[in-house]
């Protein structure tokens, strides 16, 4: 029975309530983030092995790359002793070195963007996405195939991998590609990179997460932060930063759909009023205060390319959260990755921590979106969520688990 007919007041029977469309944008960001986390948790739990095995696999993989600064592999190989203090020390060193490298590379990125080497950046990012999709994707697929004993021959595998990677690169970088494929491949890249990060040893992962969230906070909010410089450069030139960013646009194209370029907000409004569904969308976007107000002519966006992983060379991923030119929320792929790393690492302990961390990250994302609505400028999406996630992980592990197991094993529930 339709709930509107249950309320059947002849006057308001045709009208829709605000509850129908409110919060759509938030859900469009929450769904892919949740999907990415679910996939990483599934991968982690189906491919879970002992710590030694995963560290040896990752050290094998790392030593086979030819990057100059394979610090982590050195650390892993040198990690003879298992004592906690040694692990903590190496974790801190690794995390710090990672942050330093990322800062340097982001400054390099700002420099390149300043000298308008945009083509170079785009091609570079295309190559790094290809690398992630083909090498990482291939590696993880091989792990899955061997673990689940899927019968497949090398030729089919090679063809499939090649096809999927190439289409993925196109999906991510061609502007007119269907948005659903773009979003799907971005989530796939996020899942693969996040799974790779969960193969790091435990203390290193946590130290890395905390260090990256502090870096994100500094890089976006401090006046000398590289990401802030990048955003200001892009805004002053009215250009888009070439980077991997998830844009939460609706999948079905609406009339008057906008290409992803910088636009005046007023243009968008004029187009929107022509179509009622469009206007509802724009209105919702406006009124939920997650959109740029009319006073700001250059739409704000994005965040900040963040060079991910120094072992795979540098890939440009964006971090932070902002508003798209069509009013949709944009979330950098680096955020997807680090959220999923946190949840994946929680999955390696127990599922209770997974649920608690998932809720904490969603809460952090909600808080960040609220702040975005209030401050209306690009904000770092990592710090709040990661900090909440870490706090909830600790609380669950220390407090909640004992309580719940005690109650449940006695079949006492409330």
């Amino acid at each position: 029975m339709d709930d509107r007919s249950a309320d059947s007041d002849p006057v308001t029977a045709g009208e829709s309530s605000i509850l129908d469309t409110l919060g759509e944008d938030v859900i469009r960001i929450v769904s892919p983030v949740s999907l990415c986390m679910v996939l990483v948790v599934l991968l982690v739990s189906s491919l879970s092995s002992t710590n030694d095995l995963s560290s040896s696999i990752s050290s094998l993989f790392l030593s086979s790359t030819t990057t100059p600064t394979s610090f982590s592999s050195l650390n892993l190989l040198l990690l003879g002793s298992d004592s906690t203090w040694e692990e903590i020390k190496s974790a801190l060193v690794t995390a710090l070195s990672f942050v330093v490298v990322v800062t340097l590379l982001t400054f390099l990125l700002v420099l390149l963007f300043y000298f308008r080497c945009t083509n170079f950046l785009r091609i570079y990012m295309g190559i790094s996405s290809l690398f992630v999709l083909s090498f990482l994707g291939g590696f993880i697929s091989l792990l899955l195939i061997s673990h689940l004993k899927i019968p497949i021959d090398p030729f089919t595998f090679a063809i499939l991998l090649f096809n999927l990677s190439v289409v993925g690169v196109f999906a991510v970088f061609m502007p007119k590609f269907p948005i659903s494929m773009n979003q799907g491949y971005l989530v796939a890249i996020g899942v693969l990179t996040a799974y790779w990060f969960t193969m790091l040893p435990e203390w290193t992962t946590w130290a890395l997460l905390i260090a990256m969230s502090l870096y994100d906070l500094a890089a976006v909010l401090l006046p000398i932060g590289p990401l802030r410089l990048l955003v200001e450069l892009a805004m002053s030139r009215n250009e888009e930063i070439p980077a991997l960013v998830y844009e939460a646009r609706p999948v079905d194209p609406q009339p008057g759909d906008r290409v992803r370029v910088w636009r005046e907000r007023t243009d968008v409004r004029i187009e929107a009023t022509e179509n009622s569904t469009n206007s509802a969308n724009v209105q919702t976007v406006q009124e939920t205060r997650l959109a740029v107000s009319e006073e700001i002519t250059a739409p704000l966006i994005e965040a900040f390319p963040q060079t991910g992983d120094r072992h795979l060379g540098t890939e440009e991923e964006e971090d932070g959260i902002g508003l798209g030119s069509s009013g949709a929320i944009k979330l950098g792929l680096g955020d997807f990755i680090f959220y999923s790393v946190l949840v994946g690492r929680a999955a390696m302990y127990d599922y209770m921590t997974v649920y608690a961390c998932y809720l904490a990250i969603m809460a952090g994302l909600g808080v960040t979106l609220l702040l975005l609505a209030v401050y209306r400028k690009a904000l770092p999406a990592l710090p709040v969520s990661i900090m909440l996630g870490v706090v909830f992980y600790l609380l669950t592990r220390v407090l909640l688990e004992v309580f719940v197991v005690q109650c449940s094993s006695n079949l006492l529930m409330f």
Partner: protein, 249 residues
């Protein structure tokens, strides 16, 4: 007992919740957000309880009284929090109404408010099922099963799934009853909810007795059915009253 059994247990615990989600909540994004925040709220209350009780755990005795104190304090705390939740809900309602006025759309209907209450309750129920049942279900996906000493006739996972099912229903619909009770100021509804919750929790105390779960489980399901019935009567009455008042304008 293999993936099929594990999935089966998940569906037993969460079946009605999933169908409620798919039919009512998934259609309106705001309800999904309400669900997530109420799940978080329940988790925080559970963490606070766990923190308060950490020093006294694990309870080694097989006596009844430590567990009954545990249950009483937990239920009392959660019911107290429910009033706080209701205050937050009122504030949110006011904000939504103000927003609706600005966008020149109609204010929240009665059904909207009830749906919000339903989403909130479902969040609580979902949190209960997830933390008390699902998070312990991981071994069920493996090749073996587990029996508790006090209840050798039913696998542990099945018991916790059925209890979780009962509590999902109780939590979901008590929220609707409670919000209606607080809004209308009816004592009967306001008292019913903590009462039902307490009785349901005390019923699980029966499980401490060897063989008690054979009595406890059906009683819990009866309690869940009672809550469902009470809620049905309340909502029916409310909606028919609302319709008659509206059509008499």
């Amino acid at each position: 007992m293999t993936v099929a059994a594990g999935v089966g247990y998940v569906l037993i615990a969460l079946g009605p919740a999933l169908s409620l989600f798919a039919s009512v909540i998934a259609k309106k994004p705001f309800l999904i957000l309400t669900l997530l925040s109420s799940t978080l709220f329940w988790l925080i209350s559970l963490i606070i309880l766990a923190g308060a009780w950490r020093a006294f755990l694990p309870v080694k005795s097989t006596e009844l009284w430590p567990y009954s104190i545990l249950i009483l304090t937990s239920v009392g705390f959660q019911e107290g929090i429910r009033i706080g939740f209701w205050r937050l809900f009122k504030k949110m309602e006011d904000m939504l109404n103000a927003f609706a006025d600005r966008v020149s759309k109609p204010r929240l209907f009665l059904t909207d408010k009830m749906q919000l209450a339903l989403a909130g309750g479902l969040g609580h129920g979902l949190a209960h099922a997830v933390f008390f049942c699902l998070s312990l279900l991981t071994p069920a996906f493996g090749p073996a099963t587990f029996y508790v000493d006090k209840c050798p006739s039913i696998p542990f996972f099945l018991i916790s799934a059925i209890i979780a099912l009962g509590f999902v229903i109780i939590h979901t619909f008590s929220m609707v009853i409670a919000f209606n009770g607080y809004t209308e100021g009816k004592r009967k509804d306001q008292i019913f909810v903590p009462f039902a919750h307490l009785i349901a929790a005390l019923i699980t105390l029966i499980n401490l007795v060897p063989g008690g779960c054979n009595i406890g489980l059906p009683l819990l399901c009866i309690m869940a059915g009672t809550t469902l019935y009470y809620n049905w009567q309340l909502v029916w009455r409310r909606l028919t009253e609302h319709q008659t008042t509206r059509s008499s304008d």
